[in-house]
Amino acid sequence: MADNKIGNVWVFIEQEGGKIADVSLELVCKGRELANRLGVKAEALLLGDKIDGCVETLYHYGCETVFMAQDPRLEPFTVMPYAKVIIGLIEKHKPNILLFGATMKGRELAPRVASEKLAGLTADCTDLQIDDFDDKVNKKSYKNKLMQIRPAFGGNIIATIVNTWDDPQMVTVREGVMKLEEPDISRKGKLVKVVPELSDAETVIKVIERVRQEKSVNLKGAQIIVAGGYGVGGKENFKLIQDLAEALGGDVGASRAAVDAGWIDHDHQVGQTGVTVRPKLYIACGISGSVQHRAGMDESKKIIAINTDPHAPIFSVAHYTIVGDLNEVIPKIIKAFKAKV
């Protein structure tokens, strides 16, 4: 390791219609923390069209530099032109770390970039730290590497992964796990405009039709979530879950089983293929609690689980366990709460 000047920490900024994705801002905050630890800069990669409005926000959250590639061919998002622009920037500036959100876009784009750069890539991290690494097998030691921490094997193990090849160390990071710090509007930064060099080879994919709706519910910010699972038993019965949520001033969540059964919209799904939440109170009703579901809610401050099966895995993460029929228990909770307030 002759070269002791290390590169900066980069965050790929995901935006839709000029609105930055929450996960990207979470990663800017985390990226700034990592950059401070390493004594380097936190910098953003902003690609798309009509995205000038995003730049100031990125400064406020802590980016010292924003690399902005603005071009109609970068909207809407498609993988190949994005990968081309990012590879070009990596070759030129040699970042040390590159963070992507583990969103649909991030998980499609990051591997394409990593493959071309011959860089390691760890998917769906839930924590990132800086530490040294002794590779005992190859008898090499590395200073100040990115510890890429992620669940694997269906959530049954937590692995710490290290990238031992040349930079950048690339990861995708799960939404909602890194803390969003308060922006500081006095922060300033430097804008570097990037002219994309795109050929026909990267723009072969044509978007013929695109249908998108904003989510009907934003569970990420919810303080109280009442979630229903397969044990709710039917679409009509989901009204009970809604009633409880309404009474407590909370939002409705669901397990994958309830969503797959068609009882409630996917926007409400909590877990590995849905949203990761960390509310003050999470009430799991008729949810058995697969590892995939628990991964999305086990950091809630207080968890109440209601289930008829005393051996349901959900009870392993609950603070309060109620073994009983939700059809009887929920009305009792509503009644008790209304009587108290």
Binding site: V79, E108, P111, A114, L121, V204, V211, A318, K332
Partner: protein, 298 residues
């Protein structure tokens, strides 16, 4: 015109249905006790390939990289409708991360030769990375479409596919050859009884050799004749090593993997200090009282 569709699949431990028997006394998972299954979304990829075969006419070639026992998923693919299968197996492939895996698969594709489409499941349930598909596309230098639900149309030069995006869907048009990763949006067909009768006799060369050894046959000519006979009947499963696909040994297995595992921690499932609440009015009242008192509610 008929298409050649390659489908890459993986045999995985069934991490989604972990029963008590696979749990060790300390609450961690005994990974070796999990049954090996056909990765669920790879079945969706195979189904999409077979639907395209039904609609447009195609040869469906299924490949997997794994230990010799992974041949089971290939036979399953034949029972469902695959025309040919390739097992990529070699000790030197072991320990591969997604980069080394995608490189090995790209060598396999090059040996297969010409193709129109490559299909992969979105992700495998043992690692949940969803990286090998996009990385394989890059290695092959072809465009990729992720999260495909269905194919709207295929013509000689291009494919139109519907795919999921956050909060909706997109219809994309892409020139061939291309790689698609497929999500759980179709209903994989069951194995066909007639195909099971025929393809249960499908073998790799190593399996033939082993069967001969078990039966104390020593005649090499019989073995060759049998292999040729299987080949003629479409019952020979190709078995390729790293050298067979001309893979650079520095780019496969552990040597070709930039990511190293520093540490593995088992997630221990034990009951915490949970409070048992009786499902009665008294129990629920006390609970609500406590939650209001500590400002969780109200």
């Amino acid at each position: 015109m008929s298409y050649t569709i390659l489908v890459f699949v993986k045999q995985v431990p069934d991490t989604q249905n972990i029963t008590g028997e696979a749990m060790k006394p300390d609450g961690t998972v005994n990974r070796s006790a999990l049954p090996a299954i056909f990765n669920p979304e790879d079945l969706n990829a195979l189904e999409l390939a077979l639907e395209l075969k039904d609609r447009y006419g195609a040869k469906v070639v299924v490949g997997t990289m794994g230990p010799p026992t992974a041949v089971e998923v290939l036979r399953n693919a034949m029972f469902c409708g695959a025309d040919e299968c390739v097992l990529l197996t070699d000790r030197t492939f072991a320990g591969a991360d997604t980069l080394a895996t995608s490189y090995a698969l790209s060598c396999c594709v090059k040996k297969i030769g010409s193709y129109d489409l490559v299909l992969c499941g979105r992700q495998a349930i043992d690692g949940d990375t969803a990286q090998v598909g996009p990385q394989l596309a890059e290695k092959l230098g072809i465009p990729q479409i992720g999260y495909v639900e269905d194919v709207v149309d295929v013509s000689s030069k291009k494919i139109v596919a519907k795919r999921t995006i956050e909060g909706g869907y997109e219809i994309l048009e892409c020139p061939l050859p291309a790689l698609l990763t497929v999500v759980d949006a179709n209903e994989p067909r069951p194995m066909a009884a007639r195909r099971i009768m025929k393809y249960k006799r499908a073998r790799t060369r190593s399996e033939l050799v082993r069967e001969h050894a078990d039966a104390n046959y020593t005649d090499a000519e019989v073995l060759v004749a049998e292999e040729e006979s299987l080949q003629r009947k479409g019952l020979l499963i190709q078995e390729w090593s790293a050298d067979d696909v001309d893979a650079d040994h520095d780019r496969i297995g552990l040597a070709g993997s930039p990511t190293k595992v520093k540490q593995i921690q088992n997630v221990v499932l034990t009951a915490g200090e949970a409070k048992q609440i009786e499902p009665s009015d008294t129990g629920v009242n006390a609970l609500i009282h406590e939650l209001i008192a500590d400002h969780t509610l109200g």
